[in-house]
Amino acid sequence: MNVILISLLTLGILGAVAATILFLTAKKFYVYQDPLIDQVQAVLPAANCGACGFAGCSGFANACVSATSLDALLCPVGGNAVMQNVSAILGKTSSEAVPKVAVLRCAGTCEHRPQTNLYNGAKRCSIAHNLYSGETGCSFGCIGFGDCELACTFGAISINAATQLPEIDENKCTSCGACVKACPKMLLEIRKKGAENHRIYVACRNEEKGGIARKSCSAACIGCSKCQKVCDFEAISINNNLAFIHDDKCTLCGKCVETCSTKAIVEFKLKVESL
């Protein structure tokens, strides 16, 4: 009986002492944090991808709470839906963001762009890129070892074994831009998703003169400027023998796609049934 009593007392006193210490330290080191930050963070996607320009979702939540207007703030991953939730919590308005998606600006499949040598080093685009121009004649094209696939935290990118090019899954891509940073050839671009996922862009970055570009890849942009002439909206510019379609001016009329002789301009249109 005595033993039980002693042990109960000892443990009880120990517990009480520990609780007091815990209570006091918690009081002493208490840091006030706006409860709104936690609420905002709860509706964020928790991807911590950094695409918003802040250090993780908590950084973004902090910025949202302290900002006077949400106009300049956007979570590219969550898009409008999340921003609306955030504005509902904070009672601030947010401007409508245009949904965006990553596109690959290279159409150099194995068939268009024959291999000229075999790479036998560590299979990373960045390592091969530091070493030399690449396995094909085109020194601008996709290397195909999948640095973008590794960089994508949403599993939206996978390398197609047949074409050796990455494929981007529309539905999973959050336009966070991690792949853009990972690609040493700077082939990925965040573009407007477009109505019904309809987009037109130049799938090439080859800045060589027409003949040389054509020789290394049959799907290369040769800088012939036919598309520029046919475009009624001045949406196409040509620099260094390479066309670029500005998505803010492009009306998706599709004239340039028809006129492109190398099929370097790609029109992407998702079938309505998948929407």
Binding site: Q115, T116, N117, L118, Y119, G121, L131, E135
Partner: protein, 320 residues
């Protein structure tokens, strides 16, 4: 001429491979193994075969069906684990226990961590210690050497067990007619692979010659054991020699402590690790409840390896 191959430099390779290292270790183990076979007969051979076959088989099965990946049994590391495990067992142990020990060694000790190179503890020792704790009687029933056929051998205590209960090791050796020469050849009771110190040293010489391991770990263990044992048994002349040659110290220091994956990377780190093993071994031998402490000492220091690797760096060029 076909397409040229491009790769970053260097463009030549030494030709070294995991196989070469593993089979080098096996060759280095061969003399001690043969001495074990010679003294303990059929039992030793059967134990070895069982351990090797079950280790290789378990590795294959786990990689093939559990992990569904490529199998790497051809690299020889499972054979080394099996051989080392067997050499740490008494020759008269029931074979089904060996199979269970192998399963623990490969399954728990190695594959759970991601296979070769990722295991924090020496797999053979994980298996051995598991068996020592699970089957204490079988694991400490030693046959005496030279009693053929070994299957119905007479069992007896190991010198280390005898030493545990005597005040003076010199006296104990005298009363039992032991000599260091006997220990060197391996004419004593114990796990069948650990008894022949000379054969193990021959293997050590081979490993050094082929540059499979460096001298740092084994030599620092030997030195620590010798000095520390001498200090503990001050005046007992035979004690340091006894501690060096008796039990599994040679086998442990040369083949198990120096295991690639579980030992530190830098030379200075390896010496710290070796000294730690030496001290813990002598502490267990003198103050612990087990007569032998090499296995535990190595496993304990294995746990310190990541810490040593973090804080003890190799000597950098240009750093005085």
């Amino acid at each position: 001429m076909t397409k040229l191959i491009i790769s970053p430099s260097p463009h030549i390779h030494s030709g070294d491979s995991i196989q070469k290292n593993m089979f080098g270790v096996l060759i280095a183990l061969a003399p001690a193994l043969l001495m074990g076979f010679l003294f303990f007969g059929v039992g030793a051979i059967l134990t070895t075969l069982t351990a090797i076959i079950s280790c290789v088989l378990f590795e294959y099965l786990i990689q093939k069906f559990l992990l569904k990946g490529k199998t790497s049994i051809t690299d020889g590391s499972a054979i080394v684990t099996g051989t080392l495990l067997a050499m740490n067992l008494p020759s008269i142990i029931p074979l089904w226990m060996v199979v269970i020990g192998s399963l623990v060694a490969i399954g728990v000790g190695k594959m759970t961590f991601g296979g070769l190179g990722n295991n924090p503890f020496n797999p053979a020792l994980v298996g051995r210690v598991f068996m020592l704790i699970s089957f204490p009687v079988a694991m400490t029933t030693w046959s005496l050497p030279g009693t053929f056929p070994a299957l119905d051998a007479q069992s007896g205590a190991t010198p280390l067990a005898l030493a545990k209960f005597s005040d003076s090791i010199t006296e104990m050796m005298h009363t039992n007619n032991f000599s260091i020469l006997n220990f060197g050849i391996g004419y004593m009771g114990g796990s069948f692979g650990e008894v022949s110190a000379f054969a193990l040293l021959l293997g050590f010489a081979f490993l050094l010659f082929r540059k499979i391991i460096s001298w740092h770990i084994p030599v620092s263990i030997f030195a620590t054991v010798f000095v520390f044992s001498g200090l503990l048994h001050w005046g007992d002349v035979a004690a340091p020699f006894f501690d060096l040659f008796a039990g599994g110290l040679m086998l442990g220091a040369i083949f198990m402590a120096s295991d690639f994956a579980t030992s530190p990377m830098s030379h200075f780190g390896q010496i710290i690790y070796g000294v730690g093993i030496g001290i813990i071994t002598i502490l267990i031998r003198n103050f612990g409840s087990y007569p032998e402490g090499v296995s535990f000492a190595i496993l304990i220091m294995n746990a310190f390896t990541p810490l040593i690797n973090t804080y003890v760096k190799p000597k950098r060029f240009g750093k005085s």
